[in-house]
């Protein structure tokens, strides 16, 4: 209200400062010339150059991209199918299935990591990059489902009725009407899933085999072995890539 306006405005700004300050500081100090990273010694690109020269980081980045790409494709196949299929069920059944499918997003991620680890060990599948991407394809399924379903709900039912009047079968109207209309949200969901996979640490941590190092795993071990400006530089890159991808995804979902 107006009577509290000034105070609320300042509290809101303080919140934003709290949310963005640490990220801003991290990015700023990735350009710091000093190795003693908390005192400012002038601008430098050297830590970014150091990243580029680090072969193990580049390998980890390649692993991350591979895992994210394959798991996104899998999550899209399953998630879009679920979103479309749910629409045809009675309302009550829809809710039940949806709630069960949201569980992977709700339970603590550590539990998901641990249970997948146990599962793979018990069925004697050696841990590798493949087990990582299988895990990622699980938590990304509900993400895709939610986004595509939100869009599906907003579609004009008359378009489907028109297709039916013109003699289209269920599958034909799906292919020629529903899927084309959903395309922006499918791409948006894919970008979201891709980013989440790229960023994931916990499930990866539990399901990665020896040598299957992704970028977040690499960052983690760098942090554990001591602070360095290279981590700041890598983090800054991470922030920018995530924000870019998510921004793009949100734009597509809005269309």
């Amino acid at each position: 209200m107006k009577r509290m306006g000034g105070w609320l405005w300042h509290a809101s700004l303080a919140n934003l400062f709290f949310l963005y300050g640490p990220i801003a500081v991290l990015i700023l100090f990735s350009f710091n010339a000093s190795r003693l990273s908390a005192t400012w010694q002038g601008w430098s690109w050297q830590w970014y150059r150091a990243l580029w020269a680090n072969q193990s980081l580049l390998d980890a980045a390649a692993n991350s991209l591979w895992v994210a790409a394959v798991s996104t494709v899998l999550a899209l196949l399953f998630g879009v199918g679920l979103a479309l299929g749910l629409e045809g069920l009675p309302w009550k059944r829809q809710r039940q299935i949806e709630q069960a499918l949201l569980l992977p997003l709700v339970i603590p991620e550590v539990m998901m990591g641990v249970s997948l680890l146990l599962f793979f060990v018990l069925i004697q599948v050696p841990l590798s990059l493949t087990t990582v991407l299988l895990g990622h394809a699980v938590f990304n399924v509900p993400v895709v489902m939610i986004i595509v379903r939100a869009r599906l709900r907003k579609l004009d039912p008359r378009l489907l009725e028109a297709a039916a009047d013109l003699g289209a079968s269920y599958w034909e109207s799906l292919r020629h009407v529903t899927i084309p209309l959903l395309r922006p949200s499918i791409v948006g969901a894919g970008l979201m899933a891709f980013t989440i996979s790229l960023d994931d640490f916990i499930v990866t941590f539990f399901t990665a085999g020896p040598g299957a190092t992704t970028l977040p795993l690499r960052v983690y071990s760098m942090i554990k072995s001591g602070m360095s400006p290279e981590i700041n530089a890598l983090s800054a890159l991470f922030v920018m890539v995530s924000m870019g991808l998510i921004g793009l995804s949100l734009l597509l979902q809005r269309r």
Binding site: W7, N15, S37, G88, P90, P108, A137, I223
Partner: protein, 295 residues
Amino acid sequence: MKCTGPSGWVATSGRGASWWLLSPGLFWVGLFFFVPLCLVSAISFAERGLYGGIVWSFSLTNYSDLWHPLYARILGQSVLLAAVTALLCLVMGFPLAYYIARAAPNRQGIWLLLVMIPFWTNFLVRTYAWMFILRTEGLLNTLMLKAGLITAPIELLYSNTAVVIGLVYGYLPFMVLPLYVALERVDRTLVEAAWDLYATRWAVLWRIIVPLARPGIMAGCLLVFIPSLGAFLTPDLLGGARSMMVGNLIQHEFLIARDWPLGAAISCVLMVFVLSMMGWSLRVTRPLSREEPES
């Protein structure tokens, strides 16, 4: 037309097709999510082998072991830290959510986006940012030393305080969004009426706004509490030796102590706790949301 919505339309022509579309996804999530969870609960009743394997049996020793003070302390501390986190998020997020809910409609979207963007950046990176700020040679100590506020660096990192800061930082957006949704629905005329009747600021807040926003407050607290309770990275990176939380304990039992049945039992306790809280909140908030269309 017999049918009104898209679901009605699909229902008449493609119920069989729906199951074709659903089954791959259901199979996938079933195989890689529900089967592993069942395995975890099965193993929680097994016993640890001599060299860390699993000896299948049925015993409740893993669950009775959890009452050991060492484990009980970690469980209790996790609940405490998660509760403090939820409370701090509520106190910090409430003014922001209220401000957004009262902002001009075309501004609200931008504010919400600003709240969400940090959430979409890598959690590991965000936690690292706080290590960079809080550690002994970190930014905060350096700045305070230069300003003459302190004469020697103080230990800020590796404490429960640092863990709570990291958790609040990580999950504040989860509080702001449901609060915003609830506050946006609060009828402005009720607030105006209270002002007209010379209610004080606090009376307006406590007797009008907070009761009306209760579903949002509860949803926000739950959305912050649950991931905080199961947090692994934040206590791992920001916490000290004594700030272990359930997530770290589970990881420790599985990867370091290699006592899988015990780790599984802890996981099951966590899962039952989380699910019952969710079920409870659904039951508490559903009557409220059902009333809404009438009011």
